[in-house]
């Protein structure tokens, strides 16, 4: 029987603490055969599980150009994420996926790309950023605007530094007013304000935006002002999911299944959906 709910077994190879409550796991397939047949695209998600505790939905935070490990980043919030945090290097977790659609990286070839992320919303964006940086020559100008509430809440700090050092990427990192430290050298201000200040050109450009709903809400008008077309603004929805397979009925928005028709949507597509996300 083809059991669609049966996970791959993966080993935790490395644990990286991004912030006090956000952690990245580097995972490797326990079976060589599983590893060989597995492939995914940037933006797809998976169900990660701790046996005896349950499953949790996160995006795959690593890019398809780096297949030695699968990485996920998660914030400690509920039962399963707490259980995930109790695991150590060498422990086994369950992994089902990849599920859902993906960012249109192939269609973005030759275009300028603007990445905008807030908080842990950088995780799905990071998959695309690393994917694009690994294939740098195929794309035009790259701008990254990333913000978090405080300096302590910035994730993937080691990579932010690397991106800032690169000459072929414009990286702007910001923290909310009051979230700065005395030695903070980045921007201070909310993401929409900093996007406006950075003013990336909308010419031949695609924008990928992920973050808290409030950030997205206030960034969209800025993007319109900068001249971005609705179909060139792409985001992911984070509706609660269980199966990831278009069965369990949890992630529905009207007649769409976020797990099958999404999670990646353009702003143009989102506008016609019922306001239930």
């Amino acid at each position: 029987m083809n059991n669609i709910y049966k996970p791959y077994l993966m080993e935790i190879k490395e644990i990286i603490d991004e912030t006090s409550d956000t952690r990245t796991l580097r995972l490797q397939f326990r079976s060589e055969e599983d590893k060989k047949k597995f492939s995914f695209k940037a933006g797809q998600f998976a169900e990660y599980s701790v046996f005896g505790e349950g499953e949790c939905t996160f995006c795959i935070a690593s890019p398809p150009t780096r297949m030695d490990f699968i990485e996920c980043s998660f914030k400690q919030v509920g039962k399963v994420t707490n259980a995930l945090r109790r695991l150590n290097v060498g422990d086994t977790i369950g992994f089902r996926g990849p599920y859902g659609n993906w960012f249109p990286v192939e269609e973005m070839k030759g275009k300028n790309i603007v990445f905008i992320a807030g908080g842990i919303g950088l995780a799905p964006v990071r998959s695309v950023i690393l994917n694009v940086l690994d294939r740098r020559t195929e794309f035009g100008d790259i701008t990254i605007v990333y913000g978090a509430r405080t300096v302590q809440d910035l994730v993937y700090k080691r990579e932010l530094n690397k991106w800032q050092e690169r000459k072929d990427v414009k990286t702007v990192v910001t923290v909310d007013p009051g979230g700065e430290t005395s030695d903070w050298k980045g921007e201070i201000g909310f993401v929409p304000t900093i996007v406006e200040k950075t003013a990336p050109s909308s010419k031949n450009a695609v924008a990928i935006i992920c973050g808290p709903p409030i950030m997205i809400k206030f960034t969209l008008p800025v993007m319109m002002k900068l001249g971005f077309e609705e179909k060139n603004i792409i985001t992911t929805l984070e509706n609660r999911m269980k199966c990831g397979l278009g069965k369990c009925g949890r992630c529905n928005i009207g007649n769409i299944y976020v797990c099958k028709d999404g999670p990646v949507f353009t702003y143009f597509q989102l506008k016609v959906l019922p306001q239930e996300y």
Binding site: M1, N2, N3, I4, Y5, K6, P7, L9, E11, S49, V50, F51, G52, E53, G54, E55, K75, V77, G78, T81, N88, G90, D91, T92, G94, P212, P213, E238, N239, R240, K242, C243, L245, G246, K247, C248, G249, R250, N252, I253, G254, N255, K260, P274, Q275, E276, Y277
Partner: protein, 337 residues
Amino acid sequence: MEELMISSENLAKLVDSFLKEGMDVFVPDSNRFGKINSSDKLVLDPSMKPTDISAKGVVFPKVDPIFHYKKDKEKVEIFETEPGNKQIVFGLKPCDAASFKVIEKVFNWDYKDEFFNRRMQNTIIFGLACTYSDEYCFCTSCGLSPVSYEGSDLFLVRLSEKEYSVMVVTEKGKEVISKYKDLFSSANAQKKTEVINSIKAPEKKFDSKKVKDWLDKNFETDFFNPTGEICLGCGQCAFVCPTCHCFDIVDEDYEYGKGRRMKNWDACQFYHFTLHASGHNPRDNQAKRYRQRVSHKFKYYIDRFGAILCTGCGRCSRGCPVGIDIGGIVSQIENLK
């Protein structure tokens, strides 16, 4: 389709033969479809009120183990579950039999849920023409009738205390009775027609097309607010429903280091059903959740799978502790501008 007859006495023999073959036989009592171990318990009364809880559990159980696991330090092993027994379900009313065909669509539209499919393959359905009707019934508003054989493998019409007509609907149905041909006799078409014509169908409550037309245009509405105010969010409507198919995936250790992962029935009427980890909830009040229930049944499922996600059995209304009547609510929608 082949038409046959069977006497009550021979129907009992048929049940005993199935039991002897080792199959599970389910029949309805007032509460549910339960297993019987002898034909003495067989009661097929077409005037019986629908069971409190629908028959969907025979193909989509409320708790369905999807695998077992064993944890030993850092190692984990997964063990697949065994397929269930061959099962015969007697006495499904048309509203119950049809529901299997409706939920089959969502379990197979993309990825295939083999837990549902292998049970369906192992299940033979003896439908029964229904003579019951109360203020909550509305099968006729959902494209069905008390004599619809949709979803049945064999369809019975009780002609008298002593005999039933049998319509052989599917190949699967034909096969299961092939060994017992001598228990059946040739059909009495005239008597069957007389009985069918005498069955009073529930009055049509609404035109589902008009209901969908309104739902298509009116997502933003305060129509569901009064229902949202009285609904307790207990979820009984989803649990007793033959077509509600939403589920949760839950782990349970049953002894140290061993356990199972299960698909458990869930309900869109619960606050936590759509609650995000961040605390944000897209359906943050009961009116929105009731709108989801009605819209899923009378719009979204039709958009997606071409079928109404309701067979008009009326169970959700009969069982509602605060008297919410879906048939009544949907009838009102038909008349909204």
